[in-house]
Amino acid sequence: VSVGRVFSMILAALVVILLGWAFLRGSVRLSAIPAGSTLTMQYTAMLVRAALIVFFEFLVVIVAIAGLVTFSLAASPRMLARSGDTFSAAMRPLLYTIVAMGIVNGLWFGLIAPRVESRLAQYAHRKHVAEVALQEAERLMELGMYSGAEEHLELYSSLEGESERSIDLLREAREGRTAREQEFRNQLQRVPDTPVTRAVEVEQMTVIDLIRIAREYLEDGDYFSAHHFATLAVEQSRTPRRDARIIQAEAFNAIERGSLARDEGEARELYAAKIAAYEAYQRGATIPEKAVEAYYRFQELEKRIPTDPDVQRFTPRALERVREISVFVEDARNNHVLPGRSNLVFLNERHADWYELVSVDKLVRVRDGDFLYGIEVIRVAPGSDRSPFLHLRAPYGKVISGYGHGALDQVILRAVSRDGSAVERGAAVVRPEFFAGDGAELEGGLTLRHTVDEIARLGGGTRALSLLSLGELIYLPAQLERLGQPVYFARVELLTRLFRIIGFFVLSIGSIAVGWRFRSRYPGRPPGGVFLIMPVVPWLAWRVIEVGRFTFATIAGNLVTLTSLTTTFVLVTISMFLLVIFTVFSLLRQKLS
């Protein structure tokens, strides 16, 4: 039997034991995640991932133990002599194996482990979202809110696929919603029908088209549409269009006249409401509060005269406009139950004389967009008496992406209720609360200087570092710095990984040298009593490695502050390689007998 085979056999036995333990630890870790079914392929894949993390954590320990045991107990000079004339010749195939394992270990810690960790984190997050969505759907079903339940069930099945329970619930929710809609339609039929005029879309229209359409509407007696298209023509035209202005004025006069021409009573009142809603809509283009008002007015009108062509045309437009400047409290509240990143803090801007710090209680990323909860913004001018000069808190926020290349995202801080009912402090509109300043410079939204991705990834503190690959740890610090996250921890993490990657060679080769130097001097197998103490070896090996890791981590902490990252990186790499070379030499110095 060659020494290489003995080493492989001992290592294989240890690998089997470690794998068993790793799978046990992995399943304990996964048990904290709500699992749909533990027998699925997906669960198995995740279990393998979780187990691999534990496996590589302890791989160096078992390689060191295998080296120690093989060369101090199992291998004899005669066995080695069969593999080569000298100790170094006998060692060569084994060194190749160790180098190959070291490369795998290096790839793991440098590249694969962070990916595996993020996959596990995603998996856990998805499972949590799915579970919460199902619970929320059940709760909404009990309350009779079928369409909300349906949304949550659809979210559930998009994440988890369909289960018997979710299919049943979805059918119930759809039936409930259909019944509700039928009921609503029956009510509508009692409202007298008015003829519906054709709807025209304004997108991609030239000013000439707009004016032509406005004129047609004016001739048809549809004054709201005529005014709307004429206004659009005036806005879009670069030169003053007298013809458009004339149609605008004529249509507006007709609208006013129409109000007088109507009979007394409900019809007149409805017409006045329509004018008010329309006016609010027009002014909403520049004043956000008016846009919200227009939205509520058209909502009200839609309930009363759903078949009115003006109402049908302007209600969706008002909705569109209000979505651009506010977040619906109902949407925000629905998504609040979903899991997300919590307690994010980041530096949004820092200038010579002031800085802006943002804290977000929770960030939920869903298909509808990125919802923020408990957003607090503070602006401080260092050294100034009137600091902070701005401090606000908004309960809800939603990220809207900026238009154009390089445009910055905005967080809308105004929240409104969907149907105009009071949501907070008796009001339908929730505005940020100001502790200092009035936010005039915020212009209704907070401009984000970073992408939501960066904030979600790095705003939560040092726990994100284990998800970064070696390359990212080298290139990310600039980004971290802009977000106000200390670069120090990333650098320590980088050096610690280097220690782990190169330290593997030192420990595995060194263990062989030590094992051989202190090999058993029993002519045959040692007496049984000696084996009783064997379990101490892994324990001691682990303790030594643990203390070694701590010492190296603290040394890394000191090193990164002494010089620049590049210098430290190069210095550490060189000295670690020197240590490897020293270990290899101390191994090859050993004699066969």
């Binding site: 120690l68 101090s72 107990l73 000079p77 005669r78 307690n343 803090v345 980041f346 530096l347 820092r350 800085y355 710090l357 804290s359 209680d361 408990g374 607090e376 503070i378 401080v380 260092p382 050294g383 600091s387 902070p388 401090h391 808190r393 502790f435 939560g460 503190g461 040092t462 710095e481 106000g484 996250q485 200390p486 120090y488 921890f489 030590v514 094992g515 130097r517 202190f518 090999r519 058993s520 001097r521 029993y522 002519p523 040692p526 000696v530 103490i533 101490v536 070896v537 001691l540 303790r543 643990e546 203390v547 701590f550 010492t551 603290t554 040394i555 902490g557 000191n558 502050t561 007998s593």
Partner: protein, 317 residues
């Protein structure tokens, strides 16, 4: 004897080297477990112990005569201990670690319930900070200045009291792995048994200290029978290291075991210990262990036989 005598300077050199290495390691880890001035005292005993173990492990293959090696080691250990006392062990009392070697600028230090944004750090003073209290409304609180009290693990906010830094990354008192901190605590207990600062005359006049010194040196020198316990040096090394770890733990183990023992036993033991060694009971326990090692050594078979056997085995074709 000549060969054994040659080992002496090597032994002294190794003790100094290993103590130095341990000290360097402890300084490099910024004394996470002790104030820097206490580090010398703390690494002194482990350095001595490791130096002796390494020398013994190598001596086995060097065919020295143990009957001269062990007493010489005893003398060297005693000399090192006395020298240590004469130089003066600083009182190794309070564990004081040093903070992270960073001055924070424009940095958010995250914590579970409280995080802090530090715009600029000047010594232990943080300027233009924003405290983020994750469970309070409002969350953000601007403070022009906060003071960091590292030793007590708190942030002092003028006019508002203190905030614990136990959970704030970068500000918490980092402690090493439990195995290391426990070892340091044990070593500190042992150091307290030794006189802190003493003149040679007073040392001679206090039999308790002399007994402690002798027993400790004896224990260190008597690791020899353990180093050659089996014919597998690696296993011997493991056993001896385990033994070396156990020794400083004896006072702690005695303190925790004494209340569980019957009253008559502890009182008799205390009486016996004050009679035999005018020192704490742990010293008597050490003495018992030293005697046990001595007995083990006396009854150990000679090294000649295994050497001959190995020679025969290795010389076979």
């Amino acid at each position: 004897v000549k060969k054994t005598l040659l080992i002496l300077p090597i032994l002294v050199f190794r003790v100094v080297l290993l103590t130095g290495l341990l000290l360097a390691g402890a300084v490099a880890s910024r004394g996470h477990v002790a104030a820097l001035e206490n580090l010398v005292a703390l690494v002194f005993l482990p350095g001595l112990m490791l130096g002796v173990i390494v020398t013994y492990l190598r001596a086995i293959t060097d065919r020295v005569i143990p009957i001269t090696l062990v007493p010489m080691t005893l003398l060297v250990s005693a000399a090192f201990l006395v020298a240590g006392i004469l130089v003066g062990f600083p009182e190794a009392s309070k564990p004081v670690a040093n903070p992270e070697p960073v001055e924070w600028t424009a940095a958010i230090l995250h914590g579970r319930s409280t995080s802090i944004y530090v715009d600029r750090q000047v010594g232990f003073e943080f300027r233009d900070t924003v405290l983020i209290r994750h469970g309070m409304l409002p969350r953000l609180h601007h403070h022009p200045v906060t003071y960091w009290n590292y030793e007590d693990g708190v942030l002092v906010i003028p006019g508002e009291g203190t905030v614990s830094t136990a959970e704030i990354s970068g500000l918490q008192q980092t402690r090493g792995p439990s195995s290391l901190t426990l070892l340091v605590d044990d070593l500190r207990t042992v150091l307290r048994l030794l006189p802190p600062e003493i003149r040679p005359t007073t040392l001679l006049a206090s039999p308790g200290y002399i007994a402690t010194l002798l027993v400790l040196s004896g224990l260190i020198a008597l690791t020899w029978p353990l180093v050659r316990l089996t014919r597998w040096p690696l296993m011997n090394g493991v056993i001896t290291l385990g033994w070396a770890r156990l020794l400083p733990a004896i006072p702690r183990l005695w303190d925790s075991a004494a209340p569980l023992m019957p009253n008559w036993f502890t009182s008799t033991f205390g009486l016996l210990s004050s009679f035999l060694t005018p020192a704490p009971p742990a010293v008597l326990l050490w003495l018992v262990l030293a005697i046990a090692l001595l007995v083990l050594w006396v009854f150990q078979p000679s090294l000649a036989r295994p050497r001959r056997e190995m020679d025969e085995v290795e010389e076979q074709p």
